[in-house]
């Protein structure tokens, strides 16, 4: 008899809203990590503690494996985490210990806390410990005082506009977007007309079967607009990606793991390597959350993404730094 599965989630693709119960359950796993596999249009999500029960469904080996890290905030030194360099190093150790070594890393922004050259230098130095190439998109903390000139000089020299670009790896098309520039009073993240036009053109000639991975700092779905956790014109960007069978959107910014499936699109936010932020509406403001020191590494983390050709989607595994 099959073992009773208590912590398996099923997201119905025909239901466009968030499965509230499942959503909260995924949140609760932020401390232990979660594995998400999409098969036949259904996203299944498992607690990492049950990995051994999964067998073939886990699909931890495939053509392409990469890791997403986010929100390093190098330079932050407040009580929520006085040692962000230490926790970034712990993330590097975690990456180096993965059973399937990733081909490369994605960093979804807020590399630095105050856009200071020494903060970027420090992150670069620590990430060298992985020996992997890193593809960056900026967070709002990386474009302070200079409209992102330093960011582009360091990380996106051959990019377009404010720093957006795309590249291909093993048949998967990766798109790095910038939604932290020219923000308007009272508004959310913004992609802007020029970037949207570029995106439309960038994906125009791709086959519908090409797996797409979009990565950007601020969530491209409306997580909690009251705190600015969303992007004004993301609907237009997603409209250009409608024709593709598999779209994975990876974001940071909110310092906690959340996921949602909407049609062909799986949205995922990564944990920060620096400090946690409260769940939407669970505090007066989205400021850094102070947790007991021994719990901190349990809610910081990295995201490992695995692509298996022929499968409908990418497997997304979150691991804490603990």
């Amino acid at each position: 008899m099959a073992k009773k599965v208590n912590d398996e989630l099923l997201h119905d693709h025909n239901n466009d809203g968030i499965d509230r119960r499942g959503f909260l359950k995924c949140m609760a796993w932020a401390g232990t990590g979660a594995l998400c596999v999409m098969q036949g249009g259904v996203l299944k999500s498992y607690s990492l503690s049950r990995m051994s029960d999964l067998g073939a469904a886990a699909a931890t080996t495939g053509e392409l494996s990469f890791v997403q890290i986010s929100d390093s905030h190098m330079g932050f030194n407040k009580p929520a985490n006085p040692d962000v360099a230490g926790t970034l190093k712990a993330a590097v150790d975690k990456i180096n210990a993965l059973s399937t070594p990733p081909q490369f890393l994605l960093h979804t922004g807020d590399i630095s806390h105050l856009s200071k050259p020494e903060e970027f230098d420090n992150v670069d130095q620590i990430l060298k410990g992985t020996g992997k190439e890193v593809h960056f998109v900026p967070g709002e903390h990386d474009v302070l005082n200079d409209d992102g000139a330093q960011f582009r000089e360091r990380y996106a020299k051959s990019s377009k506009g404010a720093g957006w670009y795309s590249f291909d790896q093993k048949g998967v098309h990766f798109i790095g977007l910038v939604n932290v520039m020219n923000l308007k009073a009272g508004g959310l993240g913004t992609l802007g007309h020029e970037q949207l036009e570029w995106l439309e053109d960038d994906v125009k000639h791709l086959k519908h079967s090409t797996p797409i991975v979009v990565f950007a700092h601020i969530p491209l779905w409306s997580v909690y607009p009251e705190w600015g956790w969303g992007t004004e014109d993301s609907a237009q960007a997603l409209a250009y990606l409608k024709k593709f069978g598999s779209v994975t959107v990876l974001n940071g910014h909110i310092h906690q793991i959340m996921q949602k499936v909407e049609g062909n699109v799986t949205f995922h936010t990564a944990a920060s390597t620096a400090f946690p932020q409260p769940q939407p509406g669970k505090a007066d403001s989205p400021g850094p959350m102070k947790v007991p020191a021994e719990q901190l590494r349990g809610i910081l983390g990295i995201t490992d993404v695995n692509y298996v050709r022929g499968q409908h989607a990418l497997a997304v595994v979150d691991s804490s730094l603990a």
């Binding site: 407040k78 923000l183 009272g186 989205p286």
Partner: protein
């Protein structure tokens, strides 16, 4: 001759009267304000500006001070002023010379908005 003495007397009385007026506290207060312009402060904390709406007289210098543990900026909606990023306990000041309503926001967290009403 007698008439001109009376006019002179009146003129003296007017001058004395003006001098007496000048010694009144209200007049002094106005003079002091002119010499030392007014100041006002807006505190940034918990991802908000306090007070969110501040009313001041023209010529007032407003100072924003960041008491939050996250950096913020102060950027005028009509590009009148723009601070550099303010880390915890850093300040930014701007003197409002002309009357009007001036909306501003934090360019890192644009949900944070405020206004200065200059009378």
């Amino acid at each position: 001759m007698r008439r001109s003495v009376r006019i002179l007397g009146l003129a003296v009385a007017v001058v004395v009267g003006l001098a007496a007026f000048a010694t009144r506290p209200r007049f002094f207060a106005a003079a002091a304000q002119q010499a030392q312009p007014a100041n006002a402060e807006v505190k940034i904390d918990n991802f908000s500006f306090g007070p969110a709406s501040l009313t001041v007289a023209a010529g007032t210098t407003v100072t924003w001070i960041n008491r939050d543990d996250i950096p913020h900026t102060v950027v005028s909606e009509d590009k009148l002023f723009k601070s550099r990023v303010l880390d915890t306990d850093e300040k930014f000041s701007f003197t409002f010379a002309k009357p009007g309503t001036f909306g501003y926001f934090c360019s890192l967290h644009p949900k944070m908005t405020g206004k200065v009403v200059v009378q």
